[in-house]
């Protein structure tokens, strides 16, 4: 940390909290994340958007190197707070997870242990990571439950997960992720299983806590509405690759990649009436049968013959806004991405 603050003073650009270069994740011989690069500034909220199978959740899990036994994470660079995550041993990773990185999932019922009270589960985390005694840890748990908006936390602390509503369970998950004051919160579809009125409550809570703890958030979601109203910057993923990287406002008002454009045109909104939705024809290609060249080309309305020959590089068209489309390079190719 010391090192990064001095560096930040030299150049006015803050040192990124997280740097990812050319991340590849594969299961057996299937590559599901292929060449993802991004960096995350302290306090920044980054959204990762994509449909099922786009690799957005796997990308997030790779940040913590949480992988099933057959999963392999490779990258040219994967640094969190200046530390090389790829070089970290299992014990060091366990320290980082939960301490400096917190994570919340879509379905709190499966992430919480059903036979332990919620208090017990928070106490477990606090004792392990902060080394507090039993009584202090319990007080800390009550305090964090109060902070995430659980009414009567002194009583709720002894409740079991099934006794809480979906919204309350997600609050407990958030409390558990934040109890050690992480610098990065990874939220994988945290509100997808919730009703809209509860979703709004949880998003508001997350924003409050984000400014209070000055942490960065990676928000993974398939819901463009959630991402556009919650994040500073978005990565749009398609078939394991980032196709657009842009400030959230620009991505939704002036999308540069045809896939982003197609997604936006296919969503019915509550703010106006459309005669007909512009559906993107076809389906996402499976990872074992990827088209050569641009992976979106078979479904793309703008596709030209060169699109099926090489993968277009992610090129910035305006500062801070890049897209991997040959329309950005004038139908000529830069160096191949791999």
């Amino acid at each position: 940390m010391q090192h990064s603050t001095t560096k930040a003073r030299q150049s006015t650009v803050p040192t990124p909290l997280l740097e990812v270069e050319n991340l590849r994740v594969s299961f057996g011989n299937l590559t599901v994340v292929d060449g993802v690069s991004f960096s995350l500034a302290p306090g920044e909220i980054l959204g990762i958007v994509g449909e099922s199978g786009s690799g957005k959740s796997v990308t997030a899990l790779a940040m913590m190197r949480l992988m099933p036994p057959n999963g392999r994470v490779e990258a040219d660079r994967l640094c969190f707070m200046g530390e090389d995550i790829l070089a970290a041993g299992e014990r060091r990773l366990e320290q980082i997870r939960g301490d400096a990185m917190g994570m919340i999932f879509q379905e709190p019922m499966t992430a919480l242990n059903p036979v332990l009270s919620v208090g017990h589960q928070i106490v477990e985390t606090v004792r392990r990571h902060l080394g507090l005694g039993r009584r202090e840890a319990r007080e800390r748990a009550i305090e964090v439950l109060r902070r995430v908006g659980i009414p009567a936390p002194e009583q709720r602390v002894d409740d079991f997960p099934h006794q809480l509503s979906g919204g309350m369970r997600q609050r407990v998950m958030i409390g558990m992720a934040l109890v050690c004051g992480p610098k990065l919160l990874i939220a994988d579809e945290p509100t997808t299983a919730l009703d809209v009125t509860i979703q709004a409550q949880i998003l508001e809570l997350m924003l409050d806590l984000q400014s209070e703890y000055q942490m960065s958030i990676i928000m993974i979601s398939h819901d463009l509405g959630v991402v556009s109203s919650f994040t500073d910057r978005v990565l749009i993923m398609y078939s394991g690759q980032v196709v657009e990287d842009a400030p959230a406002d620009a991505a939704f008002s002036h999308p540069q990649h045809p896939y982003t454009e197609g997604l936006l045109a296919s969503i019915p909104t509550i703010d106006g009436d459309l005669e007909r939705l512009k559906a993107i024809e076809g389906t996402v290609p499976p990872p074992f049968d990827l088209p050569p060249g641009c992976r979106f080309a078979p479904r793309c309305a703008y596709a030209k013959p060169p699109c099926s020959t090489a993968v277009p590089p992610l090129v910035a068209n305006t500062p801070g806004h890049s897209a991997a489309c040959i329309r950005n390079t004038g139908y000529a190719f830069g160096p191949a991405r791999r």
Binding site: D195, T197, A200, L224, S228, S229, A248, S266, I267, P268
Partner: protein, 331 residues
């Protein structure tokens, strides 16, 4: 075409102790609505509000506790089991999860013609012709008929379910979250298909969804449910642009959208109360930002406030007055 009056469904809950009475959950409590020929009525609400139960009651897949349902003048609740089965030719349903709705050991062709077999319609040859027709209608190719459901993507499976629902030439279809489990680009394909079929075949839909954007897109009129009751029912423009019930406003305010102010959410506090023990008075009073004393004691009746705009709120007139004033100031 469909007329529902004072429909009610209670589910018994288990007896708790030796001497206590078994409780009842009023999943659907005294709701009434009409759907006209060729119309799509959207039914929207949060989980547990009774929208799915309503869809099943209308088709009598679940027996109502009381109330009446008439379909083209026929009293559905008075039908004998045989007559009810015949009426199903006219009324079909498409569910959320197509994989759960399709028998994994039957081919898609068998699945689609199964309703014809059950109702003993046509011979092998005419069923084969009908199968090709149905596959074409939902955008599948004839070679798909010999495949099994697991070989298809989610969107294609939902097309199979739609083809199956169309096999008997129904006039009315209940779509229960029919596009909700699909990715957005596929959801758009299915919504477009449903709209095309409606025009092509003159269908009428009861479209159930929790997604307000989808409801606005597909519906002509919208009913908003909360804890087993309809709190507001009106044309879609009225519901989305000039809602008169505080719950409808809260729902709309909660939807995140790129066209709204960033990082600001209009929230209402609290959780949905348990339907086993709904609050007295107006059921929304525990979460309503406008709630007064009267709301805690007296349930507001559903009343007509403007042309074809019904709302169940004691203060809907005030809300309407404020909206009018707002429009005058803007004008």
């Amino acid at each position: 075409m469909l007329s529902v009056r004072a429909l009610r469904k209670e589910f018994a809950t288990g007896r708790r102790g030796l001497f206590s009475h078994a409780g009842a959950i009023r999943a659907v409590d005294d709701i009434s609505f009409d759907i006209g020929h060729g119309e799509t009525l959207g039914l929207v609400g949060e989980s547990g509000c009774g929208k799915t139960t309503t869809g099943r009651l209308v088709l009598r897949l679940v027996e109502p506790t009381s109330g009446s349902i008439s379909f083209d003048g026929t009293d559905i609740l008075a039908l004998s089991p045989k007559a009810l089965r015949d009426s199903r030719r006219d009324m079909q349903i498409v569910f959320q999860d197509p994989l759960g709705a399709l028998n994994p050991r039957m081919t898609v062709g068998e699945l689609i013609v199964e309703p014809l077999v059950i109702h003993d319609i046509g011979d092998a040859l005419s069923r084969e012709t009908r199968l090709r027709e149905l596959l074409g209608l939902v955008g599948l190719a004839s070679y798909h008929a010999s495949r099994f459901p697991h070989e298809f993507s989610g969107g294609q499976r939902q097309r199979v379910c739609i083809a199956r629902a169309l096999a008997l030439n129904p006039r009315f279809i209940v779509c229960d979250e029919a596009a909700s489990a699909l990715d957005v680009s596929i959801q758009a394909q299915i919504l477009n298909l449903l709209q095309d079929l409606k025009v092509q075949l003159g269908l009428t839909y009861l479209f159930i969804s929790h997604d307000l954007g989808v409801i606005r897109h597909i519906s002509d009129r919208v009913a908003v449910m909360y804890l087993g009751e309809i709190v507001e029912i009106a044309g879609k423009r009225e519901i989305f642009d000039a809602p008169l019930h505080p719950y409808t406003m809260a729902l709309l305010g909660s939807v995140p959208s790129s066209r709204r102010a960033k990082k600001q959410f209009q929230t209402i506090s609290g959780d949905v109360p348990s339907p086993a023990n709904p609050p007295p008075g107006c059921r929304f009073n525990t979460r309503c930002p406008m709630a007064q004393e009267i709301c805690k004691t007296t349930p507001p009746p559903l009343r007509t406030l403007a042309a074809a705009h019904d709302v169940a709120c004691h203060f809907a007139d005030d809300i309407q007055g404020r909206q009018k004033k707002g429009r005058e100031i803007r004008a």
